[in-house]
Amino acid sequence: MALDDIYKEVILDHYKNPRNKRELPGAELRCHANNPLCGDEITVFAHVEGETVAEVTFQGAGCSISQSSASMMTEAVTGSSVEDSIALAASFRGMMAGEVEPDEESFGDLVALKGVVQYPIRIKCAVLAWDVLQDALAGSGTADGARSHTV
């Protein structure tokens, strides 16, 4: 194990300069979750146009892994179809379970989080935002998408 495996530059960059970290006014999808183990929390806002995830933002507080994962996620899924976004969430979880070899093209910066697999207790931090996204998108058919859960 080496710290460089987990705290890669790209992760620290997303942590210190998070992308799309803001509330999304008028977002029809909004979902919140926290990790009671460490106090990490994430709210994901999504604006879906037809079958396309037009815009995704997040707000939250927590460790570098949970916050950078959320930041990378917003970049990775913006512009994708709902179906592809849900599939990417599943592949990401698969990568964190050590079962899926990441597809560099669809993963982009997210590949950097692969090193977290070596730190099992931190995997929850990495998948938190994805759980929230998946919940938000799964609720896209409901009138009120605002829900919350804990992992």
Binding site: D40, C63, S64, R122
Partner: protein, 418 residues
């Protein structure tokens, strides 16, 4: 970190070099670094004397206690009851029958909340606890409050991490039937004024229960001098095995309690529609108890008594003072009292802007084991406006060199996240 501890003889009268040689795990490495174990508030390491006591019992005397009519059964019973006598002596209890064995303080506090609470509480009564409590002294009371209709009230905290007793008169009243309080906070380190609280509780006719999970391992303790009615303790935080521990109670208080668990060996007679129970403490010990573990706990208490609990306390005060000074110098925020003379060795802090989880991961790379999280004290975290803290905690085997190792590892975290 080096072999310097070999020559280190604590001003407090503890030969830390000799102590360290009793703990085999302290000889191991984490990666290429020597282990620096600063997480004893979560669980302590075990000396050879405890490991051997458990092994010796398991190898040569293993049987169920209070059951066998054969030689091993007798030996197991003697070892188990001998452990009860040792625990009673360690805590200053008047007799072994004041000690009910449990599997740790969580079970002890649940036994108090259920066994005492359900028989003594009704609507209109109040349970008084504090915002400093570990979840194991909060949640059981919430459950009991829901069943009995009693109200749960809290003693608040000061900004310095002490109990705010300025409004005690309005919180502790004749409606209060029980005051349940920690003796030493696992999240803030604060030592509470147990005797003062016991007197205040008794003055309004309430009983006092103490969660001594942190107090018993780290401070001389005398339940009669403290005049507490009930006191839970846990073995694995005081050099003993996991699943060891118990509940001290004044005899009449224990007798007034209902068992929490029903089953084998706690009964006197069983009929179709009801059963009669043994007297305390045996009515609380249903099913096969962790016999080897309680034997190990007695060995741990013997070990601590040999070191001398005054020496243990003095050593920890010394190292805690040093650690707080160094943390503050390094720019960390320390939660809880800064004065080592009124606190234990669990030091919660936040280092610059580094999230505790990230900090713990970086420190682990240097072989330094600390805790990061809410320490099962979410009310404390909320009170001080943090989602989590990093926590270093010290025990008999820790040295100032280990504090130094932690401080230099903090530097590395600062460089990564700065």
């Amino acid at each position: 970190m080096s072999g310097d501890v070999e020559t280190m003889h604590d001003e407090a009268g503890l030969d830390v070099g000799a102590v360290r040689r009793d703990f085999p795990v302290l000889g191991r490495t984490v990666g290429e670094h020597p282990l620096v174990y600063l997480d004893s508030a979560a669980t302590s390491q075990k000396p050879n004397q405890v490991i051997e006591a458990v092994a010796e019992f398991t190898r040569h005397h293993n049987a169920n206690a209070h059951r066998g009519i054969h030689m091993l059964g007798e030996e197991a019973t003697q070892a188990y009851e001998g452990a009860r006598a040792t625990v009673a002596r360690f805590l200053g209890a008047p007799e072994p029958e004041c000690i009910a064995f449990t599997r740790g303080v969580t079970e002890s506090m649940n036994l108090v909340a259920q066994g005492w609470g359900r028989t003594h509480l009704r609507e209109g009564d109040e349970i008084l606890i504090t915002e400093m409590e570990h979840h194991s002294n909060i949640v059981p009371w919430q459950m009991t409050a829901a069943v009995t209709g009693a109200a749960l009230r809290y003693i608040p905290l000061t900004d310095d991490g002490l109990l705010d007793l300025s409004q005690l008169g309005s919180l502790l009243t004749e409606r209060t039937k029980i005051l349940s309080v920690t003796g030493m906070s696992n999240a803030l380190g604060t030592i509470t004024p147990v005797r003062q609280l016991a007197d205040a509780a008794h003055a309004v006719g309430a009983v006092i229960a103490v969660d001594a999970a942190q107090l018993a391992p780290h401070s001389p303790i005398d339940v009669q001098a403290l005049d507490v009615d009930l006191l839970g303790f846990t073995g694995h935080k005081m050099l003993g095995p996991t699943a060891s521990g118990g509940l001290y109670g004044k005899r009449e208080v224990l007798e007034s309690m209902e068992p929490m668990l029903g089953g084998g060996e706690m009964i006197h007679e069983v009929f179709h529609d009801h059963s009669t129970y043994k007297s305390a403490p045996f009515k609380f010990e249903a099913g096969t108890m962790p016999v080897a573990q309680q034997v190990g706990l007695a060995a741990a208490m013997d070990y601590l008594e040999t070191l001398g609990m005054q020496n243990v306390r003095a050593h920890e005060e010394d190292i805690t003072r040093y650690a707080i000074d160094r943390l503050l110098d390094a720019g960390a925020t320390v939660y809880g009292p800064k004065d080592a003379s009124i606190r234990g060795g669990a030091v919660s802090f936040w280092y610059r802007d580094v999230h505790p989880h990230d900090l713990a991961t970086v420190l682990n790379e240097e072989g330094v084991a600390i805790r990061a999280g809410h320490h099962c004290a979410q009310l404390v975290m909320r009170r001080y406006g943090v989602p989590a803290t990093a926590r270093a905690s010290f025990y008999v085997y820790n040295t100032k060199q280990e504090v130094d190792a932690m401080i230099s590892a903090l530097d590395r975290a600062g460089n990564i996240f700065g």
